[in-house]
């Protein structure tokens, strides 16, 4: 680890905080339908959309209607993408005449993008046309991100006042978030990325003759806008197979810093949005403190692991000064590779600018653990906030048990029904991650996909189900994921991780919204102080993390010890 590396990391984190604050407050104003500086420009478009679609943005929806609208829109969008991928051959903007995807790969990819996962079982530059990348994938990046943020806003509203029957209007929430938040930021950031070197063209490739006279086909396409929304919406699906490690997605240190900032902008900003919606900014700061503790710890551990060179290579005579450089790019070095990959796994982004499969065992374990915690520190856009709120309810419940009082969070009494719904959501994680991994590890057709042997093979499979369930999308990419078993089961894991978590949480929000708001009294446990922050960190570690300790011991921890004992596979 170097001082300049830490300075780079500290600068980025400081810029993220500075930028997330106004963005978070902007989101709060947008979803409440208040006037913002973008209104004169975009309000006619917003009104036009409502008129064309035939919705009244002021009509409140109960949690059932809100959930039904959300699921219906997502289901139709899934079908649309599935059809586009299958029929790619017949659609425009396909100059290389690429064929359609196989049914299983199209299922996996469509599920991956509708759930904001962006798991890539395909290789972008060889499988998809610029058309599919634009109206297929890029549109999903905007709409799945908007869906997540809308759900988080609906859940936040449940704490705002007492005796509410509705959580807001899903159509209005989604439309406003896409128009006033995602599009403007993505367009500005996309142009900045072009300036830094990211292509945005309808050409699919250029043919070059290298200085030594060889032919080189250089793939390109409309990358910049997709890159911007891919980070901003914590989507993570790259235009290219190598994702943000590809020089056209991430040409230099500045683009890496900008992309890192975009990934954290909305998840961090939403803690401020939450504070404003519930009318007490300190509640948002407490959540931010919890997130900060996990993120900074994770960066320190991964940085320490990756700054250490692979001892097996050092023994052969490789200079250890550059750290573990296999699968990393020179222009990012160790600090920017560590920062990027921690930030994209702490959120459910899943973009990578270095190959996690080649990280040191502990360097790869931490991103995996961040996903397994439930993608809540800070998690994906929206999904992270409502996930973290579920854990906050469990934390006050644990505190309530200790002192024998009915727990409250923000004046809402937390009773048996709420805790049951919260646990129903949270239990999806071990069910899908551990269940899927265990099942696959005993199936020969699944283990045939492994790219590495020994404990690292177990890590590859565990990472795949963690990433799919957490809707992250990054991978230990040695795994050959396009097989019928993995395409199907990982697709189902994404489905469960997104909607089997979201629906109980919306039910929980509906139940809380209807309750009266109890005024704080002397006996109320304050949920904005250091005691609550510590308690929430503890609950996340124990409830979210501990259940994965046994399997992590068999994978990355075991690999760490055999590596330093000099064993290879």
């Amino acid at each position: 680890m170097t001082i300049s590396g830490w300075a780079e990391i500290a600068l980025t984190l400081a810029l993220i905080l500075l930028a997330a604050w106004p963005v978070g407050l902007h989101i709060a104003r947008v979803v409440e339908g208040e006037r913002t500086f973008l209104q004169p420009l975009l309000a006619p478009l917003e009104r036009g959309l409502y008129a064309a679609v035939g919705v009244d943005p002021g009509r409140g929806m109960g949690w059932q209607s809100y959930a039904a609208a959300l699921l219906l829109l997502n289901a139709l969008h899934f079908l649309m993408l599935y059809a586009m991928l299958r029929l790619q051959r017949f659609l425009p903007f396909n100059p290389d005449h690429l064929a359609g995807m196989s049914p299983r790969l199209a299922f996996n990819t469509a599920m991956s993008f509708v759930t904001n996962t962006n798991w890539q079982a395909y290789s972008g530059e060889t499988t998809l046309s610029p058309g599919s990348q634009m109206w297929g994938l890029t549109s999903h990046m905007f709409i799945s991100a908007g869906t997540g943020i809308a759900a988080a806003v609906a859940v936040s509203r449940a704490f705002a006042r007492g005796g509410m029957e509705t959580l807001g209007n899903f159509w209005a929430d989604l439309t406003r978030i896409v128009l006033y938040v995602l599009l403007p930021i993505a367009i500005v950031a996309g142009l900045a990325l072009v300036a830094l070197g990211v292509p945005q063209t309808l050409a699919t490739h250029a043919d070059a003759t290298t200085l030594e006279g060889a032919r080189q086909t250089i793939s390109m396409g409309p990358v910049a806008l997709m890159e911007a929304i891919k980070e901003l919406g914590t989507n993570g699906g790259g235009y290219f197979n190598a994702n943000s490690a590809h020089p056209f997605e991430n040409p230099n240190a500045w683009s890496s810093l900008l992309e890192t900032l975009l990934v954290f902008l909305i998840p961090i900003g939403l803690t401020f949005t939450f504070g404003r919606i519930v009318g007490d900014q300190r509640q948002g700061y407490a959540l931010l403190a919890v997130i900060g503790i996990f993120v900074v710890t994770a960066i320190a551990v991964v940085y320490a692991a990756e700054a250490h060179a692979n001892p097996l290579l050092t023994a052969l005579g490789v200079d250890p000064a550059q750290g573990n450089l296999e699968g990393k790019e020179i222009r990012f070095g160790i600090p920017l590779s560590v920062l990027f990959n921690v930030i994209t796994t702490a959120t459910s982004c899943g973009a990578v600018n270095a190959m996690l499969d080649s990280f040191m065992p502990l360097g790869g374990m931490v991103p995996m653990l961040l996903i397994q915690l439930g993608e809540i520190v800070p998690g994906g856009v929206g999904s992270g906030l409502y996930g973290l709120l579920v854990f906050a309810l469990l934390a006050v419940f644990v505190a309530g048990l200790m002192v024998g009082r009915t727990p409250e969070y923000l004046g809402k009494k937390i009773e048996a029904k709420e805790i049951k719904l919260a646990m129903l959501a949270v239990l999806i994680l071990p069910f899908s991650i551990l269940g899927g991994t265990a099942w696959s590890l005993v199936l020969p057709q699944a283990t045939a996909s492994l790219g590495n042997a020994g404990p690292h093979g177990l890590s590859e499979m565990l990472y795949a189900y963690s990433s799919a369930t957490g809707n992250n999308g990054s991978a230990f990419a040695g795994l050959s994921a396009d097989t019928s078993w993995l395409d199907t089961t990982l697709g189902i894991a994404m489905l469960l991780g997104r909607y089997a978590f979201l629906v109980p949480v919306l039910a929980l929000a509906g139940s809380l919204a209807a309750k009266v708001k109890v005024p704080a009294s002397g006996g109320t446990f304050p949920t904005h102080g250091p005691l609550f922050v510590g308690l929430l960190v503890g609950v996340i570690v124990i409830l979210g993390g501990l259940q994965f300790m046994p399997v992590l011991s068999l994978g990355p921890l075991a690999e760490h010890f055999v590596l330093f004992a000099g064993k290879t596979y």
Binding site: L183, T201, E212, M220, G327, M355, S358, G451, N452, F476
Partner: protein, 197 residues
Amino acid sequence: MIRELRPAALLVLLLTLLTGVVVPLAMTGLASAVFPFQAHGSLVAQDGKIVGSALIGQNFTAARYFHPRPSATTEPDPKDPSKTVPVPYAADNSGGSNLAPTAKALIDRVKSDLATAGSAPVPADAVTTSASGLDPDISPANATRQVARVAAARHLPEAIVSGLLAAHTQLPVLGFIGEPRVNVLELNRALDEVRAP
């Protein structure tokens, strides 16, 4: 549920049109107008022919050129499309080795590369593959070790080659943002411009 079907279908269509067609196409036009060089892939031409992209690494094996890092990219095997063959710096199929730190294949590959890499300690980037397989850069330490070979192959004084290397070494901004690096294609193009004294 039925009541929400119409708005769901229409909104998905309209938002897809907006975010997947109108905005990307407008963005493509705007980028092409404002930053034409970058928007079209930072392509560099020599004598009217495209020799590569300033951002994408390419393979160099001749002694008179600086060599890039090893690359793990592959292409489909012309004899059997279900298999792949190693093709370094295949810029239409990016990817890394994805080898674990404990992979025997990694250790064996590094061992074989070390045989021709000169005296230990060897800079790590000379024997490790990048994440994209298209890394355009090498470290200054790696480049410095190649100066003598390049100078001898071109019958140039080492000082001239070292001078070019120094001129093409990019240092971190403000001393801490980014990494020291050398763009191999740019350095090699500059070398080709030099006439022997």
